[in-house]
Symmetry: C2
Subunit: 294 residues, 2 copies
């Protein structure tokens, strides 16, 4: 997805939020915004928003010396997420269509991440998602939900590349990966995390803490961008990206980076921003399982 | 009020909105945002937001040749506002405290302006405001409402300077000015409008169309900023500003520009942005009648 003009105000919002989280003084915050401003004229809109995010976090690191402003938040939420794991497993086990429930929970992880940043009541939201009779996701919010296609592609896929999003979602991803493996043990599932910290994206240690390595191979994409920007990925990752029979992509950042790529990608995310909702043609807040074909 | 860092993303939002209204192509819109970006580093935060708005509208005028993107919108809303005038007068006439009702209606004009830009249901809102038994403003939204002080200052004021905000509010201002004159005909009321177009701010012709000159003297502040930035006002205006016994200031822009000045200003506005709400210490959407004393 290209960068829309509406993304530009948002770049400054993000920069300010991350600068504050990095403990920058007000003077340094202004300096960071100044530096971001100077990059705007040279930033071509054909680049996706994750490429600007990379620039922004680079500036923050340079100005504050803090390369991982979200470190503490991630640690805390990793623990919270793990404590939920048994409940997620129970929900999948008791559901009529366990794969569907696992897919829904994987997206629910993305909703919760949104909630944390937007003072949504997480405990209440989690309670609703986990309530046994409920579907993990409200039916009316599933405006684009290519589950049939997902199931069919999955059946025939041998190598599956799973692109992680935020650290706190990893445990939800683990549940989906375990469900895929439960029905077909020989599947080769590779879970790709970021190489270096960017926002609250999952890194190697987050994936390990959530127990992914018990069920999938963890690799690094080589990136420090929120979203899998192919031109910046490591060669090793790109090889797998090209060979995979199916790619499961979590979160908005990965959608922004890969929505125009020519591979069998299934995008699982909540449409959290109006620009993406417009691009996908759904309502803000809708839950998306999208197989975008060129 | 100084510019807060949160205002910076908003500058870009405003620039984009106005660029589109000016009919700029997408390419020109990006060029406008680039130019705004280049001004950020040199913009000191001690300047208020209206000074940045002046820069933004200057860039748009230079890039598109359109010096008044809101012209058509203003024309339309001037007509709408005038059609409401008899109903406003009736409401004041039938109320228990006619001055209070007139003050409330003057602020209601500011709410309606907000509604127009934020797809609030104007007809419904107007209907609610005009409903005879209702107060024009919901009691719970009046978090800061120094009416007693306003009434007392008004009683002793001979020269009153009334600072206009948006064009569509002028007819609401006329009702308040007429109510003030009804009880004390010798009062000298001066209604200040902007010299040149900026956003949808009231100009001389808007004030005339709304019939202000029947009850007050219209002057220009000499400005093309949304908000009365004293350092940019005409000498003639400043003379009146200093001599006035009471200043009635409409809208957020005037609050941003004058909140730290050393004159008896009463600010009437709706807190439409979170930064202002925080500065004033009220909730977003609250209705304010504030006598700020240094």
């Amino acid at each position: 997805m290209k960068t829309y003009l509406e993304c530009i105000p948002c770049f400054f919002k993000q920069a300010l939020g991350a600068a504050r989280l990095s403990g920058a003084s007000e003077k340094t915050q202004k300096k960071i915004l100044n530096e971001v401003a100077l990059r705007i004229p040279e930033f071509p809109l054909i680049f996706g928003p994750p490429e600007m995010a990379r620039i922004i976090y680079g500036i923050i690191k340079k100005m504050t010396g803090n390369g991982d402003p979200y470190e503490k938040i991630k640690e805390k939420s990793n623990k919270l997420a793990l404590s939920v794991y048994p409940k997620l497993k129970k929900k999948v086990a008791h559901s009529r269509d366990s794969l569907l429930t696992a897919v829904e929970l994987a997206i629910a992880g993305n909703i919760i991440d949104y909630g944390v940043k937007n003072s949504l009541n997480i405990r209440e939201e989690l309670g609703r998602i986990l309530a046994e009779e409920n579907s993990a996701i409200r039916e009316e919010s599933k405006s684009i939900f290519n589950y049939k296609n997902f199931k069919h592609t999955l059946k025939n896929a041998k190598i599956i590349l799973y692109l992680a999003d935020n650290a706190r979602e990893v445990v939800f991803d683990r549940v989906l990966i375990e469900e895929i493996k439960r029905t077909d043990k020989i599947k080769n599932i590779i879970y790709a995390v970021k190489e270096k910290p960017v926002i609250n994206d999952a890194l190697w240690e987050d994936a390990r803490m959530a127990g992914i390595e018990k069920t999938a191979r963890i690799i690094s994409s080589g990136l420090d961008t929120p979203g899998t920007v192919l031109s910046l990925c490591s060669k090793r990752f790109l090889k797998i990206f090209k060979r995979a029979d199916m790619i499961i992509s979590k979160g908005q950042g990965n959608f922004e980076a890969l929505s125009d790529c020519n591979r069998p990608v299934f995008f699982l995310f909540m449409a959290k921003c109006p620009v993406i909702a417009q691009d996908v043609r759904c309502r803000l807040g809708d839950v998306i399982l999208l197989h975008k074909t060129k």
